[in-house]
């Protein structure tokens, strides 16, 4: 696996079954798709909002459609993919709950990764400074951030339980180190969940 791959992407890449059909929702410049295609023989498709990113993906020989996770997943057939992947995108959608439903409609399983808004640095920032945090993972000020629905590990677990989805696996990351679920609520910078219906 590429050493340069973002830790949550590396976790996802390592846990996708070889040869699977994958839809990467919010695939960015296609980094994960390229790794999946080249090292795990995955049939990868992507959906991405930004035209420059889509052009970059197509230039890499990837099959990527310019579109919006909030509205364009509706055009994908039920169960067309083994996995739907939503990495670092959930918190940017208008209705994360509905996007989650769509992920588990088009994919038999879904990987969802997001930055944990209850990480202790975020809490400390709010508690001591009374400021919205600007951290390594959340580098953009509140007024221009695309992250419009911040979510914590506990929030996400609750949503998943409410929807009746199953957590197949979960990984919590601090930097590129995996940490135990016990301390995840405040120590995880990234959370990665593998869900199924």
């Amino acid at each position: 696996m590429s050493a340069a791959l973002r830790p949550d992407l590396a976790t996802i890449a390592a846990n996708v079954a070889p040869g699977a059909r994958v839809l990467d929702v919010g695939c960015g410049d296609g980094t994960l798709m390229t790794v999946l295609r080249d090292s795990r023989q995955v049939d990868a498709r992507g959906l991405e909002l930004d035209q420059h990113n889509v052009a970059e993906c197509v230039a890499r020989g990837l099959s990527v459609i310019q579109g919006d996770a909030d509205s364009d997943l509706a055009y994908y057939t039920d169960g067309g993919f083994d996995y739907a992947i939503l990495s670092q995108t959930l918190q940017t959608t208008k209705r994360p709950d509905l996007v989650l439903d769509e992920l588990l409609r088009v994919g038999l399983k879904a990987f969802v990764s997001f930055p944990n808004f209850a990480h202790w640095k975020v809490r400390a920032n709010l508690l001591w400074n009374g400021r919205m945090p600007v951290t390594r993972l959340l580098p953009i000020a509140w007024y221009e951030t695309p992250n419009i629905h911040h979510v914590t590990v506990r929030d996400f677990r609750e949503l998943v339980a409410e929807k009746g989805y199953r957590v197949e696996s979960e990984w919590f990351l601090s930097g590129d180190r995996q940490i135990s679920p016990a301390a995840a609520a405040w120590r995880a910078e990234h959370a990665v969940f593998l869900l199924s219906r």
Partner: protein, 366 residues
């Protein structure tokens, strides 16, 4: 760049058997004028079939024999260019119904007189069928890719949907899966301008014919190829070679002068009846209708890789058309890419300098 580097060949094929048409007839003795450049490899796997747009022809590269200008995609096709003739054998044929060597309404019917309006109404699929016959004659089973912009994109879609085993990939630029009411309306204005010209004579004009009508048709169409912003930037309300309005009907404004020039120069290289037939073929195009009304069914089970490109300032075939095709391909489970690119030039962007398009084309061709 010399023609020798490109290995340009201009030739004409006479189809050995009558060409069946969607209208029910079969057309005997069809000629297909085509250009190739680059070199076909030993296993004939490196061919790229380009489809030209409404008013273009097979002269992709080299010097156009009528206008003396470079071919319509000389910018993108050649050694080391986006479509690299060092790797690919590029083929482009003048469409059926055209006027640059392929059989069209100006061609002679078996009775020795031009077909004129006796030429059968043809479809986009008929144009493609003639080019599949060309591939057969060249001994090419499967091309590496088909590529087209605008009407060329319609042909690329029709080719890939109807002959999916004949290509590995289809690149469709600034195009649509069906002509909209607005598209048909603009074409009808053009056709009526031609037919209202007394020199049209029911199509039996011989020689140059309804130049004024054809020029007006071209003027109306040309407006649809540009963006409003692009026009404003280029012409604004600037006057042509004068400092004041003349209070007459000369071309006071630069935009008028430009359109008149576009219209007139078009009549030097294009046949009016061809314009009627080709615009009709475009209006009849509806890929979903050909496949029972559901566009996704046109692509069912396809193994062709697709890429759709639209431009944000193109109001003739706007992004929503390409996105709709992408959604249909998605529903069919096809490997599809779709991207809307930013470019200021309107529909004509696909022919102009848009670096992002170059990267997409080169990446998609692989």
């Amino acid at each position: 760049m010399s023609g020798a580097d490109l290995n340009i060949v201009n030739d004409t094929l006479v189809l050995p058997v009558p060409l069946p048409l969607d209208g029910g007839q079969a057309l005997a003795g069809v000629e297909v004028a085509y250009q190739t450049c680059g070199t076909l490899n030993a296993d004939k796997s490196n061919a790229v079939l380009l489809f030209h747009a409404l008013t273009m022809d097979q002269h992709v590269v080299g010097t156009h024999p009528k206008t003396g200008k470079p071919g319509w995609w000389a910018k993108s096709v050649g050694p080391g260019k986006v479509i690299d003739t060092g790797r690919y054998f590029v083929i482009c044929a003048n469409v059926l119904g055209g006027c640059m060597g392929s059989t069209g309404p100006a061609s002679l019917a078996p009775d020795g007189r031009p077909y004129a309006m006796r030429f059968p109404v043809i479809t986009i699929r008929d144009m493609v069928r003639a080019q599949v016959a060309l591939l057969d004659a060249l001994g090419i089973g499967r091309v590496h890719a088909v590529i087209g912009g605008s009407m060329g994109g319609m042909q690329a879609l029709s080719f890939a949907a109807n002959w999916p085993e004949r290509t590995r990939a289809a690149l469709v630029i600034a195009s649509t899966a069906r002509h909209s009411a607005q598209n048909i309306a603009f074409h009808e204005v053009g056709r009526q301008a031609i037919m209202a010209d007394p020199k049209w004579k029911g199509g039996d004009y011989g020689g140059k014919g309804p130049e004024n009508g054809l020029a007006v048709a071209r003027m109306a169409a040309h407006i649809t190829y540009l963006s409003e912003e692009g026009m404003h930037e280029k012409f604004g309300r600037k006057l042509q070679d004068r400092s004041e309005k003349t209070f007459g009907f000369d071309a006071d404004f630069q935009v008028e002068s430009y359109l008149r020039h576009q219209g007139l120069s078009f009549t030097d290289r294009f046949d009016a009846n061809s314009y009627l037939y080709i615009t009709r073929a475009m209006d009849y195009f509806d890929l979903a209708e050909e496949h029972g009304g559901r566009l996704a069914d046109a692509f069912a089970g396809t193994s062709v890789r697709y890429c759709l490109v639209s431009f944000d300032t193109d109001w003739l075939y706007p992004t929503s058309e390409s996105r709709g095709i992408a959604h249909a391909l998605n529903a069919a489970g096809a490997a599809v890419s779709f991207v809307e690119l930013s470019a200021p030039f309107g529909h004509d962007s696909f022919l102009l300098d848009v670096p992002a398009q170059d990267r997409v084309i080169a990446g998609f061709l692989g």
